[in-house]
């Protein structure tokens, strides 16, 4: 079979089993678009901005654990995609981004729409390639998918100059079954000796704590994690990225930890004597003050990326390996060993934890005559039976969604945790909706974030995506406002947004349904009305309390036991003191 470069590229995608290609055409990729024209296997999704193409592919990848694939043109096509590539990089999302490039002969000549895509993306990709010979095209794609999806996943950019895809130059096509790279061999299996040490340490714990992250979701380790946690009977907390890997409704689950984590999770982190971190990377939003992070704990860390281990926090038992493989080995050891957890100590630990829980740190004013954002999220859970896919943008709404939805399954909570990219939510929801056309997909957003990629309402109409957009509209860039209230003596510098659009009319002009909700008593009825429109995109513009804050909050650089608490939680008490 003799194919042109453009045809080879499309054939590679087919051979990789790519369902959706999120993209935007332009000069340098016209040959590729021509090759896409007469085929139906790879469905091309035309977005309205290249940033949205990357976020949509990213959302698809997060929901399915399959690589997201993007096609953009050279120059501005590539630079617009950079934010989405960096977003995927920070959260280790497998993605292959094909960027068009000017013809090889013109590279370096400041040609029209030329940019050094490989250079610009280098610091925010797992790897990137510039294809300079049509004969390398198929193998490069095999490598790109292999690198993107194995080890610690991440985005890979393949820069393809226009002449490489010339329809007049054809070569025999062969897609390699496998690929060997002497310079890239990810470790999967953990060190058996270290795993034994970790299990011994865990079984000797009196105040153990399990802290899990996005690596459990990415590594498909949820099932093994559940076995592991239930077998031990220990408390478990999760990072923002790991939510859903362990069911939020389970009694052993203590909620999220970190800057906006629960009181009980953060207090337990501070007081634990053995901590096991699973697929988590000790992000600064999680650790708070490094010097006072888990001051009494021996730490076990499982991560597939050796460079994550002892990067910010020195650990005692490092285990490099794939989360499910390592946990499976630990579960086997736990079954075989005669040693049991110290049940008396563990019961006493749970007593302390339950006294922290009694503080009810997630309380808020339920009697308010204004719509409370937390209430909206709780209601979303009820209406969707906790089974929706939730994407979010970045800010207060993101934290409330993470805190109040209660995710019981992995891959359901989709947000930009590492980079914190406003504008992520709507395009990511499109990607999820393509992957699961019959499921409810909600984009929880704010009036600030949604305007960063609002043009995608048009894409949603073109492809009939019935995403439900829930905008918590407080007329403020809420998280900025909250920090200004707490740390800048209420100087609300440029965090109030005047002249907001009429979101209902705006949505309608894009051909969708808009519903504005202003009163708490209308909330349930209007949400139910909107969610009943299964095949329509509905934009809920929900006017929420302007000055609501996200609680609890650990100020930047403070320790876990130093939290701003909601004024509505139970009176402060110090259980340690009471118990002793």
């Amino acid at each position: 079979m003799e194919l042109s470069g453009g045809e080879i590229l499309v054939q590679c995608l087919k051979d990789e089993g790519v369902e959706y290609l999120f993209g935007y055409p332009g000069g340098a990729v016209l040959h590729i678009y021509d090759a896409l024209y007469n085929q139906e296997k790879v469905k091309h999704i035309l977005v309205r901005h290249e940033q949205a193409a990357t976020h949509a592919a990213d959302g698809y990848a997060r929901a399915t654990n399959k690589p997201g694939v993007v096609l953009v043109t050279s120059g501005p096509g590539a630079t617009n995609a950079v934010t989405g590539i960096a977003t995927a990089y920070m959260d280790s999302i497998p993605m292959v981004v094909i960027t068009g490039q000017v013809a090889t002969a013109n590279i370096g000549s400041d040609a029209f729409q030329e940019v050094d895509s490989v250079g610009i993306t280098r610091p925010c990709v797992k790897h990137n390639f510039l294809v300079k010979d049509i004969n390398d095209l198929a193998e490069t794609f095999k490598k790109a998918f292999y690198v993107a999806t194995t080890g610690r996943p991440g985005p890979v950019v393949v820069d393809v100059p226009k002449d490489i895809t010339d329809p007049n130059i054809k070569i025999p096509y062969h897609y390699p079954e496998t690929v060997e790279m002497r310079s890239y061999q990810p470790t999967l299996k953990g060190h058996t000796g270290q795993i034994k040490r970790a299990v011994d340490l865990l079984l000797s714990a009196k105040k153990p704590m399990i802290y899990t992250g996005g690596g459990v979701v990415l590594g498909k380790g949820s099932e093994e994690l559940r076995k592991f946690v239930r077998k031990l009977g220990y408390p478990i907390t999760s990072t923002l990225m790991g939510l859903g890997a362990y069911p939020a409704s389970d009694k052993q689950f203590m909620g999220m930890l970190g800057m906006h984590g629960t009181y009980e999770a953060n207090m337990a982190m501070h007081d634990c004597d053995v901590l096991i971190a699973i697929g988590a990377r000790f992000d600064d939003r999680v650790t708070g003050k490094i010097a006072e992070f888990c001051p009494h704990a021996k730490i076990v860390h499982i991560d597939i990326d050796p460079s994550s281990i002892s990067k910010t926090i020195e650990v005692d038992v490092p285990i490099v390996g794939n989360v499910p493989d390592v946990l499976q080995e630990m579960n086997t050891l736990l079954e075989e060993t005669d040693k049991k957890p110290n049940q008396k100590a563990i019961d006493a630990w749970w007593d302390i934890i339950n006294s922290w829980r009694a503080k009810k740190c997630m309380s808020y004013d339920r009697q308010s005559d204004k719509i409370k954002p937390q209430m909206v999220i709780e209601m979303l859970h009820e209406i969707t039976d906790g089974k929706a896919y939730l994407t979010s943008d970045v800010g207060q709404h993101q934290m409330w969604a993470a805190q109040y939805y209660g995710f019981d399954e992995p891959n359901r909570w989709i947000n930009s945790g590492g980079l914190g990219t406003m504008g992520f939510g709507l395009p990511a929801a499109m990607g999820v909706q393509f992957a699961y056309p019959d499921d409810t997909v909600i984009c929880v957003t704010g009036e600030g974030s949604i305007q960063m990629c609002i043009q995608e309402l048009s894409t949603c109409l073109q492809y009939g995506l019935p995403v439900k957009i829930v905008a918590l509209n407080n007329r403020y860039l809420g998280m900025v406002r909250q920090w200004q209230e707490f740390f800048y003596e209420n100087r609300y510098s440029h965090s109030y947004m005047e002249s907001l659009p009429d979101f209902v009319k705006l949505t309608e002009s894009y051909g969708h349904v808009g519903i504005r909700i202003e009163k708490p008593e209308d909330l349930r009825k209007e949400l139910e009305r909107g969610f009943a429109m299964k095949d329509r995109l509905v934009f809920f513009d929900i006017v929420t309390d302007q000055t609501e804050n996200v609680y609890p909050m650990i100020a930047q650089g403070k320790a876990h036991n130093d939290m701003h608490m909601s004024p509505y939680c139970e009176p402060p008490q110090d259980p340690e003191r009471e118990l002793s």
Binding site: S183, P306, S307
Partner: protein, 164 residues
């Protein structure tokens, strides 16, 4: 502490910038960096001299290993090793006294005068980084016109080696 890190890296366009970019993006020091192909033209050998606490050096080696193009890595300073750097240095030597003194210093340091004009000597000197520094110090009385240093390359002593 000062470390000499040797890496074998795929000899591909952009490989050097991946390493250099990593150091600048993460704020690591580079004292010197040398790179050239090995006997196998598909592989380049790179020697990086860097400094930092043990924690930082550990991160540097891990981050370098994480680069997809890096095939193998060895921190030479962890074991016995040989370090060499080459320097070409042009010194003013116009009077008899200057010429004699520079020649004498070059001999002491086992350097070679490789170019001579009526007013300059150019000396080639090879050795560990510290030796080259000492030679420059020793030339304090003289006017140095130009200094070119290759950057450090290194190799492990004994049986130990960095190869595929």
């Amino acid at each position: 502490m000062r470390h000499i890190i040797s890496i074998l890296i795929e000899n591909e366009a952009g490989a050097l910038s991946r390493v250099a970019g990593l150091f600048s993006a993460r704020g690591y020091n580079i004292e010197s960096l040398t790179v050239a192909p090995t006997e196998d033209p598909t592989l380049s050998r790179m020697t990086i001299v860097t400094s930092g606490t043990e924690r930082i050096i550990e991160q540097i080696t891990k981050q370098l290993n994480k680069l997809v193009d890096v095939v193998k890595l060895l921190d030479l300073t962890e074991g016995a090793h040989i370090e060499r750097e080459m320097m070409l240095i042009k010194v003013k030597a116009s009077t008899m006294a200057q010429r004699e003194d520079v020649k004498r210093l070059a001999d002491i340091f086992r350097g070679h005068i490789i170019d001579v004009t009526s007013s300059t000597y150019t000396i080639e000197l090879t050795g560990a980084c510290a030796k080259l520094d000492s030679f420059i110090d020793a030339l304090a009385e003289h006017k140095i016109i130009e200094t070119v240093r290759s950057g450090v390359s290194g190799i492990a002593r004994g049986e130990k080696s960095l190869h595929l």
